[in-house]
């Protein structure tokens, strides 16, 4: 029962997320680059995407913190897992900088790239394949 509920909630979450990315136009890397290219013909739309996402998600995180304090689980019965790491490490900063550079070069971050690849865009499929190689290189070279 718990397992079925987990899978159903995950699928619903994925559907809502995917539709959100398409409606927000984040799937179009040209739109993302037009947001990041702030000094020239700037399209501020993606700032609103992030703002709206945070405005909706923030009350949810306040609510789950309240649930954790009252020793309540998630709806499926599992413990709510919030990340425990709080240190700002060199790995965090270097990794985020490399990610930002790759993001700014093309306009794809992982989720929109996945959706665009699923829609059949060959450039997004190539990007995704290279991204998986990046995961693999990390797994082979960096100790966690």
């Amino acid at each position: 029962m718990n397992q079925t509920m987990t899978l159903i909630i995950s699928i619903i979450g994925g559907i809502v997320f995917g539709i959100g990315l398409i409606i927000a136009q984040m799937v179009d890397p040209n739109k993302v680059v037009a947001f990041l290219r702030v000094f020239d013909r700037w399209d501020p739309s993606l700032g609103l995407v992030m703002g709206a996402a945070i405005a909706v998600a923030m009350p949810a995180f306040f609510y789950v913190k309240h649930r954790i304090r009252n020793n309540q689980a998630a709806i499926n019965g599992d413990d709510i897992e919030l990340p425990t790491a709080s240190q700002i490490t060199p790995k965090l900063i270097i990794g985020s900088m490399l990610f930002g550079i790759g993001w700014g070069m093309l306009g794809f971050c992982p989720a929109p790239a996945l959706v665009t690849a699923l829609a059949g865009y060959s450039e997004a499929i190539l990007f995704l394949a290279a991204m998986l190689v990046g995961y693999w290189v990390h797994a082979k070279t960096v100790k966690s």
Binding site: I12, L36, S45, V56, A57, P59, F99, A111, V137
Partner: protein, 142 residues
Amino acid sequence: MDTWIDFANFTPGSALLGGALIGLAAAILIIGIGRILGISGITSNMLKQLPKLSWQLAFILGMALATWGYSLIVGFPEFTIDQPVWRIILAGLLVGFGTRLGSGCTSGHGVCGISRLSTRSMAATVTFMIGGVATASLFALL
């Protein structure tokens, strides 16, 4: 006329609606199953657990259903990605390696991290925004 802000392509309505749905998806995951919506982590953990039907795989299946359903009913947005192959590959490698080293991407750090007021995620978000803005601006000049 050239203006600093490109109002012709500014789409506040779809940005707010799409963004709200992204936030709603994060809320569904954390309240429903107690997990963070972070796509770089979800994809890499999904791969590690294959062929098991993990929650991560179910989530990605949901994204696929959304993509194919939207394509059938509304039509997937059409655009061209007119970029050289080397740039696509280099960008993918940097995004893949960087998100693993930095433990997150736009969804995990940018949306969920900021929403739960994590200073670590805020530092990551500021860093990848600086990297993204600098690189996109530089390539715009080339």
